[in-house]
């Protein structure tokens, strides 16, 4: 890294140069390791050192099992630009946000940021269930970096935006999850940062809430502030972002005008599942997706049933886990968004592997011919996204000559719905006298 930095161009809000972040597996720092493991590792390293001394060769330390969550990522974001960050699960999107919000430190490269960074990935961060709404506004505000005087000034606005006036002196443990979420969001939204980072995956909640998030985001963008928007929703990225950045396995593959990047991203193998390494775990809660398999099985009259078998791996019993499902065209247009609030697909997970099957009978009688992708996610108590798997499965619907015209209904030409529209002539014709 350079010892001195050239002044940051005043039009640039974020500058990242060669950012890299690695995670070691079985190395010096690991998750929840115990002293015994470390001491064992120390002994092993000593033994290895002794052996290599015996060999008379000074060998470089063994290459540890290193995963680069980000590597060589360089880009700049102009002031006032709204940049979409896309890529499949594990591509490094969240790591990038974590580095830019200084939650974690990079191992390579550097980034420079102009102004205060706020993020909507920490909705309700710092909230304590025993404290009242009023107390939590101050606590959460302080955690997010607001001054007390600033919170005082914005207090009424925060309460009003959240719509919790009547419950402001009630402990938040009595709040409905919706109220809790709204209050948390309201605090975060009133931080008024120069740069706003939004991670849609983490900010689940009901559709109305998501709309609110997106609305706030476009407000912020409209005020000429800089926004980084991580999302799986290509429609939203297309609508909101001037440009997009595509990450894949920690590397920046493409950055440029939104439409171009999205097209390239979606064209990149709806079929390719090599990037998905099951199980995809949420280590905090000890739950994840162990496997996802899609089959189209023949049904009556030449139709096919969609069967999606799903294995959820739980390290402990977890009650009320919701299963979310979204169907998109391969161009990213939403066909169906079925969250657990709508479907009530909520299950208590037992320790071990929990198997589920999602079934949609005669799906090729519902959808137009073309390629589709399916996103799946698990949520808990309507608040936390536990795991989200983007493009969990690809679905190819063969053409159906619904109207006997010799032509197929095509998703891109005619829309995604196979609408069994009929026309009937009413006889006899009425002749005008």
């Amino acid at each position: 890294m350079p010892a001195t930095f050239t002044p940051l161009d005043s039009n640039i809000a974020i500058e990242a140069v060669g950012l890299g972040k690695k995670y070691r597996i079985g190395g010096v720092i690991d998750r929840h390791r115990t002293l015994r493991d470390s001491l064992g590792g120390l002994l092993k390293r000593q033994a290895r050192a002794l052996r290599s001394l015996g060999n008379g060769a000074r060998r470089a330390s063994q290459p540890e099992n290193v995963i680069w969550a980000l590597r060589d990522v360089s880009f700049t974001v102009q002031r006032g630009e709204v940049l979409g960050v896309i890529g499949r699960n594990g591509a490094g999107k969240s790591t990038l946000l974590k580095v830019l919000t200084r939650i974690t430190t990079p191992d390579e490269g550097y980034a420079r940021i102009r102004g205060r960074v706020g993020s909507l990935l920490e909705v309700g961060t710092g909230f304590h269930l025993e404290l009242t709404g009023r107390e939590n506004i101050y606590l959460s505000g302080a955690v997010l970096g607001m001054r007390r005087e600033e919170i005082d000034r914005k207090f009424d606005e925060i309460v009003q935006f959240a719509g919790v006036e009547r419950f402001i002196d009630t402990p938040v443990k009595r709040y409905s999850s919706g109220m809790y979420l709204r209050l948390g969001f309201s605090v975060a939204a009133h931080l008024d940062p120069e740069i706003l980072l939004v991670d849609e995956v983490l900010a689940v909640g009901d559709a109305e809430f998501q709309k609110k998030c997106l609305g706030k985001m476009s407000d912020v963008a409209g005020q000429g502030r800089t926004v980084l928007f991580v999302s799986h929703n290509m429609d939203a990225v297309r609508q909101l972002c001037h440009s997009a950045l595509w990450l894949e396995r920690g590397h920046l593959l493409q950055i440029g005008p939104t439409a171009d990047v999205i097209q390239a991203y979606l064209a990149d193998t709806a079929q390719d599942r090599a990037g998905v390494a099951f199980p995809i775990m949420n280590e905090q809660y000890g739950i994840g997706l162990n496997d996802v398999r899609l089959t189209l099985s023949p049904a009556e009259q030449g139709a096919h049933d969609l069967r999606l078998s799903l294995e959820v791996l739980a390290r402990q019993a977890i009650p009320r886990v919701g299963i979310g499902f979204e169907l998109l065209t391969n161009m990213g247009a939403r066909v169906a968004y079925l969250d657990e609030r709508l479907t009530n697909f909520i299950f208590d997970m037992q320790p071990g592997i929990n198997r589920f099957e999602l079934e949609c009978p005669a799906i090729d009688r519902l959808l137009a011919a073309g390629d589709y992708v399916i996103n799946l996610w698990l949520t808990m108590a309507n608040i936390d996204a536990l795991v989200a798997l983007d493009r969990a499965a690809a679905l190819r619907i063969p053409g159906t000559d619904l109207y006997g015209s010799g032509l197929y209904v095509d998703v891109h030409k005619h829309g995604p719905v196979l609408l069994p529209l009929r026309v009937r002539r009413l006889e006899p014709a009425l002749l005008e006298e």
């Binding site: 002044p7 720092i29 920490e122 404290l131 955690v143 007390r148």
Partner: protein, 288 residues
Amino acid sequence: MSGYGVTRGLKAAPSEQITLIQPMRGWLALNLREIWDYRELLFFLVWRDIKVRYKQTLLGASWAILQPVFTMVVFSVFFGRLAKIPSDGIPYPIFSYTGLLPWTFFAAGLANGANSLVRDSILVKRVYFPRLIPPVSAVVGGLPDFFLAFLVLVAMMIYYGLFPTLASVVWLPACLLLALMTAMGVGLWLAALNALYRDIRYIVPFLTQFWMYATPVVYPSSLLEEPWRTLYGLNPMVSVVEGFRWSLLRQSQPRLSMFALSLVTALILLVTGAFFFRRMEPHYADAL
């Protein structure tokens, strides 16, 4: 020296400070200035801990008093009455309570400090702030409990007709500061280790118990001969308890050499703890 920090000197509007993000390696500066910038967060975390502690329990703030008082009663019965441990001619209840008062503050500070990063792991994983703030707030948050328990001591002294020395105006705050420094130093070491190795939480109760018996809480230090009695000051809590007894109960004389030794130990613990904590800082968000 690399680390997070605001690159000053680049001309920018105050709200447009440029933050430089780069790898953190090796020994890092403490960045006390940044902690000062975040003093309001420190205040709110202390306030939260106190509020939650008293809100969640049935008896609320009275626990701060009940805990040392019950311990004092138990000690008086078993150590004072049954085991007949000497107390330098002072009634055993007030003898043990003057020791228990700073000891309870120290032990709670140590345990809360050790647990602080794990307790606030959600914050550490989601928001940036100086990581020193959780352990510092956890240790400082024990002060209100101390002052409440102190009221009991005042009542007991009136009951036993004991009057403190004038010097106690200086000595008590000095001893309390010494206890705070020691708890903070050890708390920082343990907080960092606890984030990385979960074994630490099993060690803390043993450590506290062992440490209490290495401190003259239930027995007088006059049981030891010189020079061991001065060397005993390597444990800063010895000077804290002795200082409390001396200035409140006029028992024995202040031993400046012992106090100096304790102060040095406490300073070493605090400084090494703070630097070790900073050194491990890049790993917390990933290890928690």
